[in-house]
Symmetry: C2
Subunit: 553 residues, 2 copies
Amino acid sequence: SYPQKNAEILSSQYGINLFLAGLLLMFAWAVHAVGIRKQDLLSYLITIMLIQLLWMLWYICRSYTQRRLIQEKDTHAGARWLKCGITLFAVITLILDSFKIGYFIGFSNCLSATEGIFPVTHAVHTLLQVYFLWCHAKDIIQSFKTLERFGVIHSVFTNLLLWTNGVLTESKHQLNEHKERLITLDDQVPECNCTTTLCSIFSQGMYYLYPFNIEYHILASTMLYVLWKNIGRKVEHHHQHKILFKFHGITVGMIFGLIVLISTIAVVVVYLIQMGRSKIKSELALTMFYLYGISVLTLMCATGIVALLIYRLEERSMDNSKNPARKLDADLLVGTASGSWPLSWGSILAIICAQSHPKYTWYNLPYSILVIIEKYIQNLFIIESILREEEKVNDNIKTLRIGTVSSGSTLSLTPSYKEIYTGAADMDNGKFPYMFDGNIYMRERSGGDGFDEVRSQASSPVTHSTSNFSLYSRNSVNNKRRILKNIAAFLFLCNLSLWIPPAFGCRPEYDNGLEEIVFGFEPWIIVVNLAMPFSIFYRMHSAASLFEVSCKT
Amino acid sequence: SYPQKNAEILSSQYGINLFLAGLLLMFAWAVHAVGIRKQDLLSYLITIMLIQLLWMLWYICRSYTQRRLIQEKDTHAGARWLKCGITLFAVITLILDSFKIGYFIGFSNCLSATEGIFPVTHAVHTLLQVYFLWCHAKDIIQSFKTLERFGVIHSVFTNLLLWTNGVLTESKHQLNEHKERLITLDDQVPECNCTTTLCSIFSQGMYYLYPFNIEYHILASTMLYVLWKNIGRKVEHHHQHKILFKFHGITVGMIFGLIVLISTIAVVVVYLIQMGRSKIKSELALTMFYLYGISVLTLMCATGIVALLIYRLEERSMDNSKNPARKLDADLLVGTASGSWPLSWGSILAIICAQSHPKYTWYNLPYSILVIIEKYIQNLFIIESILREEEKVNDNIKTLRIGTVSSGSTLSLTPSYKEIYTGAADMDNGKFPYMFDGNIYMRERSGGDGFDEVRSQASSPVTHSTSNFSLYSRNSVNNKRRILKNIAAFLFLCNLSLWIPPAFGCRPEYDNGLEEIVFGFEPWIIVVNLAMPFSIFYRMHSAASLFEVSCKT
């Protein structure tokens, strides 16, 4: 039998090479290398998409005929909200594909056939992949390890390449818009006239849809990566809480968050309209953007620090059980933040070294510093939230035990407890059936580390006074939890807000001109184009994580 | 108490930012950003080195006064050969520093003071760091977690920055040499005359020492990283075999390896002399280099495949115990190989797309493909070797049990077994004392996964016939092991050989000119300068790993 670790290395190296070959092709195309045309790149992408399609079809068919082979499921992977998110993005991606097809039809005289085949393949690929992720994201594959590994890793890197392709197209567009403002125009317009009247709508509209396409691919590749990591894994059975999103109890956080969201949209609209009209208007728009950014980031830092302080007050052990989905979340947060920090450090360096400082550039300094600090604090908060052991399970055991000791009947006491644990206990309804079946429950929890400790606590003699005491301390815990919930909800909406400006083309890094002068135009463009995708992805990913935190807390 | 995971994130984010700030500074200097001079960069490096110096002094003093705090040691970390390697590189680095000081003295009229302070600080830093690594690389720090984490991660990223600085200086030099051949000269020569006669020796000699300086820093930072990863870890006590390097039994591998090594040196010398003399001589040198590369790589691929096939014949379970040092080794191999692959893919793409193909460029295609395949196979081999459970421990238990059952006395039988297990058992001498103290041994092995299984095997009734049978099967195992040992030794020398050409300035990627034409000069330089450091580091790191493999097998 082939050792599992080796199968992992074998397939991951294949995937990396698939990705690198595509990356170099993209790079060659982007730098206008001799002899490399767009259709070469598109053909490569089409080929790997088709291979993935075939593999997915094979996998789906096989799992229908041999259902017994895939029995294990990873409950942490492929959460429902993640699937809903990916479906939303996929729908918008399909609209993008139809725009591209329409654009191709309009210019079909002078565009190569690949430009038409690509969106069609991509649409089919999107449809099947979303279906695949809905049905199989939680699978823990135990059979045919090597072949399936290759298929999954192929899918991961195919999506990553499509993501890179999206990012590249988007960056080129942004760069062209920026150059357009700097007089020269370099956009590659097809050399024939459009045959339909919708062409300009298609070509303009596309770029508003790209951010969603980009998010779709990166999300799909993370889900597939978790699937890959899960192959051959032996899971401890955890019972996973169904995460239900409830507005109740997070009103304050939601209200402040929505204020931020609405003001962001306003700022972005004003920015995009004002920028490039005249020097004064541009500078005003920049000043507005920085001031807005500084205030939002300051708020976010403050709430993040409060949340961390609350965690310091409240002792709870971390959950050390192995879990690919959660580990990936943490790694991605730190990784993408690291990818985006060079942008901020570049700005800071430019401000320090620049020889002339127009007034508005000074706002850039606190803004850039705050961006770094905010991500720093937020990562600490999210990772600690993700890794904390879920308290509710332990609470329930205590409730059960206390109930059993004090009255001999759980059923009679539980409802009154439920009233006290307002927000928290309501969510536990879904798993009450488990509590009564002690055997199943024990078996399912046997993997958890902290469990023995809890059980020994719970088994110690419990009297009525103890249970009364726990009611008082619970109120304070409940307050803390409510504050944390609100903070998470607030930060969620803030991150969603901060995703909007870069995704839809606010580029103060280009527009303020300072960094370009210090670093030179080309070097700074390289920095921005490498760091910006990470920055955008960071916002979306931390929003997703914070959504989960706010539901779980 | 602060949760460990958070302390990890807190410190790693600090380190990443320290690194990124320095990286941006270096980038700014490299692209001749306005207002950023070399002394700014050097001042930053001096500052962080001084901080690390202070921290190391504090740590060393504290560990002297409070010896009891650090009791645990990670036996896998900081192997002796690693320490010896780093000492060797450090000594050459000190020579480099003295060259730099001499160069500064010669040109002191027109160089800023930082250019003199930097090598002095660096020399002190090197001395103390080597001492620190010798004494403390195996420490598992359990106290003052957060403060020590910050210190260690600071040291990791300081070394990484010094590594980047070395790489940058070296790349600039290579690029200048290349440009020099392309007529234009851009080297920054100081604007005053040298006051001593040794200046040209210093400035020329420096670049032959840089490769060692670069290796020194990357090795130091990996060792420090393992130290960082070990903070707060709970180790299962494994008894680690002292790794002794013995020439006996690997003569064949060594001979072939030395042939490769010598021919490499010859090829590099001829290449460097011939290149740039005339068009024909350059082309001949390139052809020679590619042919040499193709034959060496083919040999390496073949031996790698043989080794993997032997592993497939021989069933042994993988060691799944957690171990930062080993995990880092595997990650670094795959990571640095991935970093170097773009170079090969770039060449492949260039050959496919180029419009004219001089004859020698065709050799580049198999060469580049073989580079990819060779790293692919070699990684599989090394990682499987690293992760295999060490067989010797189990053997010894069996020996002990068989001995006990058959004659009631271990002492009388062990010597005769020792004669049979020629190569392998000799190495076990160091741990025989443990075998007689059953209690200690059991306690120490209690963490190992495969142990219970072995014990149950060993406890089953063993007769004389069983021990006779095991002698026959052992011979075949021994043969396999000898082949593997030879392969590892051969690959070790091959990797050392392949480290030489890029480290000492063979740049066929520049010299063959093809990629430059296809990608353009600037883009291709970016690819080479990003990928080359990984390629060089990959060779050194895989050589180090293979050395360990050949000792351990």
